[in-house]
């Protein structure tokens, strides 16, 4: 087995529904991403980018094909083991932030640490440091509805970083942000990648894609180009 790639998907398809109304979101995608890469995924709307990203994040399962993550066949992992992978190896950043409402920024960032069974004091310390990294120490006690979109996304990034995951998956992280916030978020991704973390970003913006060192273009459920850019 070629266990050297961190992410290794082989001929993955994803079909929603069945028969006449079946939607083929992925029609056979194979992709390898090594540790430390910075990959951008682009493609028109409905081309299957989010579907691919959800499979990479163990949030969804492929209809056919294999997914090897860090040398393990994800399909063979138990439900609890998959939860563990989501919690420790992967940090997921969504376009719509997905913070838990009525819960402070700090508590949101603490959440994955709680699920990883860290002690209370340890959780607090790490969550505060993650918030510090995204420059939101002074907003720790604010709830999501008391934060701007850019701040919410930074909290979401802090939350994704808190457990120190090797992989950062971001589905249009700057889709709801203005130019200034976008710059801040991208600067953070650059830093994280330079620390050695693997970053995969879905985007519609060429400006975002330019930061990555590898660009994958998806169209109609297939990878059409895959090139090293920087």
């Amino acid at each position: 087995m070629a266990a050297d790639s961190l992410i290794d998907i082989r001929d993955v398809t994803k079909t929603y529904g069945a028969g006449e109304t079946a939607v083929h979101a992925l029609r056979g995608v194979s992709l390898r991403v090594d540790a430390g890469e910075y990959v951008a995924v682009m493609g028109s709307s409905g081309s299957g980018k989010s579907t691919l990203m959800n499979i990479l994040g163990c949030l969804d399962v492929p209809s056919r094909g294999e997914y090897w993550l860090d040398g393990a066949d994800v399909a063979r992992l138990s439900e609890d083991q998959q939860a563990l992978v989501r919690g420790r190896k992967i940090g997921f950043i969504f376009q719509s932030f997905n913070l838990i409402p009525r819960t402070s920024a700090l508590a949101n960032v603490e959440l994955p640490l709680t699920y990883a069974h860290l002690k209370k004091a340890d959780r607090r310390r790490r969550a505060r440091r993650a918030l510090e990294l995204v420059g939101l120490s002074d907003r720790a006690d604010h709830r999501p509805n008391e934060l701007s979109g850019g701040q919410q996304q930074r909290v979401a990034i802090a939350r994704a970083l808190a457990t120190g995951p090797r992989i950062l998956l971001a589905d249009e992280p700057t889709g709801n942000l203005d130019a200034h916030s976008t710059d801040e978020v991208l600067a953070m991704f650059d830093d994280l990648n330079s620390e050695g973390r693997t970053v995969v970003v879905i985007t519609h913006e060429t400006e975002v894609a330019r930061r990555a060192r590898r660009l994958i273009r998806v169209s109609d459920g297939r990878i059409v180009t895959d090139e090293v850019t920087g």
């Binding site: 163990c58 989501r86 997921f92 409402p101 699920y115």
Partner: protein
Amino acid sequence: MSPRDLFGAALRGLGANKLRSLLTVLGVAIGVGAVIVLVAVGNGSGKAVQDRLEAMGTNLLTVSTTGGGGGFVRGQAGPSAQQYSLTMADAEALSDHRLAPDVAAVAPVMTSSGTATNGDTSYTVNQVIGTTPEYLPATNTPVANGRAFTKQDVDSTQRVVLLGQTAATELFGRPASAVGQTIKLGAVDFAVLGVLASKDTSGFSDPNATVIVPISTLRATQAGYGALSQIVVQAAGKDKVDTAQAEVTQLLTARHQVPATQSSPFRITNSAQILQTSQDTAATFTALLATVAAISLIVGGIGVTNIMLVTVTERTREIGIRKALGARRRTILGQFLIEATLLSLIGGAVGIIVALVVSRFQLAGVQPVLVPSSILLAFGVSAAVGLFFGSMPAHRAAGLRPIDALRHE
């Protein structure tokens, strides 16, 4: 996730919708409170009946005659009513230990009515009871002031009287001041020997409105020498009541030569039987109340399910986020189960407190008597209700695929 974190998350979840949580808690509280209070009411009414009957005297058999007996049998001429009348001789025979070994005491009873007067004050007594000294201990009627009359008083036809509390109060103002005074019963003077202790008045006739005189005196002055009204028989012990009753029946049947073909002309009421019957009735009553209460507890439980289903639906997206962040199935399950259990436990605690307060007051004329096991049961059931009724929504939440939960609108 540690139990403490789970607990905290559950509390936050409940706090997010306070009014809704409060109403659900109320539903459970009503159910639990109803179980405790209604069981206490049933228990209390059973106790009240028991106390009343015990005040009448246990081990007590009351023998009376039904007059003409079982009527005419196959065209034979009916025996005269007098053949079955109870007599003083019957009472003497019953007190013979060789004939009726399980009988401890026998008191013949004659009754009449009349008016008692003290100077200008007159009082219509409920009953003038003529009997022997054995009557007082057998019927659990102690003398509060003064003394009871003796066998010598009966033998020498003394004109002495014991007054019931109400009779004494009506005639003399204060019961204690009656002792040593003289009253008239009809036209005859009687010396007041003593005043009877007050009795529970919730029977058919007020036992405090009676006066008691020696039976010989009553026959000589008022009632004549006819049949006895009753014979009161005290069995030798609680477990001897049935054998004593058999002995009495056998002896009277033999003495009055009742034909074997005829049903017994003697009616014997047995206080233990009455007690048993009324205890059975009280138990049925309690069970009925408990059933009604249990139904309201189930309704409260359904309220918990309902609210948890709404909560799970509302928070599906949150569940998806938690799963994406590494929450395991059992963490989600635990969070919602704890929420449901907390709801019903808080409800249970509130219900118990309310029930404890409510059952200090009389309800529908009954003083509730708490049954400790019903409190434990109600609390246990409310916890179980939370687990049981919460588990369906909690399992639904925990079983969601992360992506399905995240896509939920």
